[in-house]
């Protein structure tokens, strides 16, 4: 179980994440939603330990993550928002390096990398330089790197970005399968349809503050709205989107 207690992050005094608390449980997929700049990726980075929080506590399996950061990192898999990779390496070289850094036995790593590359249709291009990979191919490399060590906690920040339809469908099923096998999955996305299909509960963030934390079913009932999109629009979208589009078109024609 992953638990955030009153977590805040301020950049030069300006709060990016403000007093956020929620729990992501094993065997379920928790959706983490919010408009651009709401603090989703900042939260994800705090959970991975990439940035330090200003206040609050993050606990995994009941223990603060900083108590044994190394053990925590061993059990965590992370797909970042942007597909930043060492582009001078080939896909196979990058994944082998990650396996080495994670101290996976060479034979086991080789079997897993090879198998996952095949399943993600990357095997033929495994020796090509990542600099030539498309966004979707890079995303697949990130997914393999995040999952190859069989992590207990899976953090996915926009994992569908750039993926083709077939790969998206595979990933969608994979996330559900992993959750069903007892993993803690925290999943951030702007694709509300997908979130509605695979997440059992959602956490919605707006201007760095938590505005909802419940199961989708309960939110529908409470807010008397039919879809997650409507719920999200009511909680986290301030602008009249049609009016904004008209204003943009007017500016272009000015």
């Amino acid at each position: 179980m992953l638990e955030l207690r009153n977590v805040s992050k301020r950049f030069s005094g300006i709060p990016a994440v403000d007093d956020v608390s929620f729990t992501a449980r094993a065997s379920e997929v928790t959706g983490y939603l919010g408009p651009n700049g709401s603090g989703k990726s900042t939260t994800m980075k705090m959970i991975t330990g990439l940035i330090e929080r200003s206040e609050g506590h993050i606990l995994f399996q009941g223990k603060p993550i900083e108590d044994d950061l190394i053990a925590y990192k061993r059990r965590m898999g992370y797909v970042p928002e942007e597909p930043y990779l060492y582009t001078h390496l080939s896909g196979a070289e990058y994944l082998t390096m990650v396996a080495q850094l994670r101290d996976l036995p060479a034979r086991q790593a080789s079997v897993r990398i090879d198998g996952m590359l095949r399943l993600f249709s990357l095997h033929d291009d495994r020796h090509a330089s990542i600099s030539g990979y498309s966004k979707g191919m890079r995303q697949k490399v990130l997914l393999i790197a995040a999952l190859m060590h069989n992590p207990q906690l899976i953090l996915l920040d926009e994992p569908f970005s750039g993926l083709d339809v077939a790969s998206s469908l595979v990933l969608r099923s994979l996330i559900q399968e992993l959750a069903a096998r007892g993993k803690v999955v925290l999943f951030s996305s702007h694709e509300l349809d997908t979130v509605e299909r695979i997440c059992s509960r959602v956490v919605i963030l707006h201007h760095g503050k938590l505005v909802a934390d419940d199961s989708i079913e309960r939110l529908r009932t409470l807010m008397e709205l039919p879809t997650l999109e409507k719920i999200f629009s009511q909680l986290a979208v301030e602008q009249d989107t049609d009016r904004m589009a008209r204003q943009l078109a007017d500016l272009i024609y000015e």
């Binding site: 190394i70 992370y78 930043y84 990779l85 060492y86 082998t96 850094l101 060479a106």
Partner: protein, 563 residues
């Protein structure tokens, strides 16, 4: 004056000024720098080293002119002229290699600039102007003092004050012509290969060409003998050097313009004029054709280039972190232009020294006794290789991709220090040691040679451990903060240490090689130093934090408000 320059600049088209500034900054990879980096200060340090060299050159020229007897003075001045021309050509050559490919449109230029309403001619002009500005600055700083002192001396030597009015323009014309020849030749070779070969093959070959040019410039500079006396240039074996060495062509060109060239060498000066003509016209033509043809070829190039199907095996080096660090390092060094060139700069010294040893050995007919002439260069080779690799480790390859190292940091920091140590030993200490072993095959007695190799290995380990002090980073991952190393201080500090410390130490080693007690004592001291440094780095590593962003030391500013 500033106002006038600004007005002139403002008259240039805005698009040109924007492009020029962008291309000028490409000489340094700004993405690799720390957010706190002071770029002008960093460049200023390099300019400072060149200016200092120029001052040293002019002082040597003046002292030589005053103190060398009349009969030998002309030979000294000929030698000085050739040395300064060759050094300028070397610096221009190195600058050309460092900014390799920067004059030609790359994929990024094509994808970003092609959709904009800009003509290829404008892009080409901005690129050439930016490259020329960098080269011009290098030429100017290197000759700022010597480029005035030497012509004045030569003018005074040849007679009345009028002499300097002829010598000064002749000298500067020669310097610019020699630089233009070198730059133009490189552009011609690059342009022709880009035009003739398919783009994918050209890109692969270009990396090798770059290293070959680097090795050629340094090899020629260090290996070519001095033939600036009548006796030397009359020798039959000197003729091919005069015929094939561009630095001698331009030396002859200068003396031709100055009216001091012996008649029998006018053919050498003629080569400079012909070479200059070919280089300039070849560069112009190939650049023009490249901009007309290559930009189109670059767009058509497929994004995904299939990898080599052959060998993908890498050696296991002991521990997965050690494997990851060493393999990542070798891939950065071989695949990143910036890192390859930066390391080649240091390797150039290593190979230059190795060439000088080979030259000495080739001159001897049989087995050679081990001497200072061999021992000193080997220590310097070790120093340049280890320090060079350590310095190149500081240049990051992709800061945005470092998150993976941070999220997979599942070992204590001292393990990372150990992995970096292993990589330094593997790619710097071991190759130099093996090279030295090969160079020492003709040296005798064998026992002394073996003892020297043992000492060299220990010194290599000590230099590697010294380089690791405070280096709590994964190679090629931490952002670079220019100026922290203080190039001026390092350069001149190393020179002073070399003279004051290394030479006496090497002399001591030479004596110790013939005395078992002294040798044993020396080895004990070296082993003790190596172990102490190793233990110190391990101890400090345990409490260290691996960092990925270089931040300057905090400075407390006193406001002096009290009293």
């Amino acid at each position: 004056m500033n106002e006038l320059v600004r007005k002139l600049i403002d008259r240039l088209p805005l698009e040109f000024r924007v492009l020029y500034r962008q291309f000028l900054l490409r000489v340094i990879d700004l993405e690799a720098l720390s957010i706190e980096a002071n770029v002008p200060g960093f460049l200023g340090q390099f300019a400072g080293v060149l200016i200092m060299l120029s001052l040293v050159h002019s002082t040597v020229a003046y002292i030589g002119y005053v103190y060398i007897p009349m009969l030998e003075r002309m030979a000294f001045l000929f030698h000085m002229q050739h040395y300064l021309i060759a050094t300028t050509m070397l610096v221009v050559g190195l600058a050309t290699v460092i900014s390799w490919d920067s004059t030609f449109p790359d994929r990024r230029d094509v994808m970003v600039l092609s959709p904009l309403p800009l003509t290829p001619r404008l892009i080409l002009t901005a690129k050439i102007t930016a490259s020329c500005a960098v080269l011009g600055l290098a030429i100017l700083t290197l000759n700022v003092a010597s480029g005035v002192m030497l012509p004045l001396i030569l003018g005074a030597q040849s007679g009345p004050a009028l002499g300097a009015f002829q010598t000064l323009p002749a000298w500067w014309f020669t310097i610019v012509a020699a630089s233009a020849f070198l730059y133009g030749s490189v552009l011609t070779v690059q342009g022709l290969t880009a035009l003739v070969l398919p783009r994918r093959i050209f890109l692969r070959l270009s990396a090798f060409l770059q290293l070959a040019a680097f090795g050629l410039f340094l090899g020629v500079y260090f290996v070519q003998p001095s033939i600036t006396t009548p006796a030397a240039w009359d020798r039959p074996q000197s003729q091919w050097i005069l015929a094939s060495s561009p630095s001698y062509w331009f030396w002859a060109m200068f003396n031709q313009m100055n009216g001091t060239l012996p008649a029998e060498l006018s053919w050498v000066a003629q080569r400079a004029w012909i070479g200059l003509g070919f280089a300039v016209s070849g560069a112009g033509l190939s650049l023009l054709l490249c901009y007309l043809r290559t930009m189109k070829k670059t767009v058509e190039e497929p994004d995904l280039v299939p990898g080599a199907g052959g060998l993908h095996w890498m050696p296991r080096l002991g521990g997965s972190l050690q494997d990851a660090t060493a393999q990542f390092s070798i891939r950065c060094l071989t695949r990143s232009r910036q890192h390859r060139v930066a390391f080649a700069f240091y390797l150039a010294f290593v190979f230059g020294l190795a060439f000088s040893v080979v030259r000495g050995e080739m001159a001897a007919p049989g087995p050679i006794p081990i001497s200072l002439d061999f021992m000193l260069p080997t220590f310097l080779m070790m120093f340049f290789a280890v320090v060079g690799l350590r310095n190149v480790f500081s240049l990051p390859i992709s800061l945005t991709a470092n998150w993976v190292l941070r999220t997979t940091q599942i070992r204590p920091p001292e393990k990372y220090v150990a992995a970096t140590r292993g990589t330094l030993i593997l790619f710097a200490v071991a190759p130099v040691w093996l090279l030295t072993a090969c160079l020492s095959l003709r040296l005798r007695p064998v026992v002394e040679v073996a003892n020297h190799l043992a000492v060299l290995a220990l010194v290599g380990c000590i230099v590697a451990e010294t380089c690791l002090i405070g280096f709590y980073k994964v190679p090629f991952t931490c952002s670079y903060l220019p100026g922290k190393a203080n190039v001026q201080l390092f350069f001149w500090g190393s020179a002073i240490v070399l003279v004051a410390l290394v030479i006496p130490c090497v002399e001591f080693e030479q004596r110790a090689l013939r005395d078992a007690n002294k040798f044993g004592f020396m080895v004990c001291i070296l082993v003790g130093c190596a172990l102490a440094l190793h233990a110190y780095n391990d101890h400090r590593g345990k409490s260290a934090v691996i960092h990925f962003e270089e931040i300057p030391d905090e400075v407390i500013t006193t406001l002096k408000l009290s009293g």
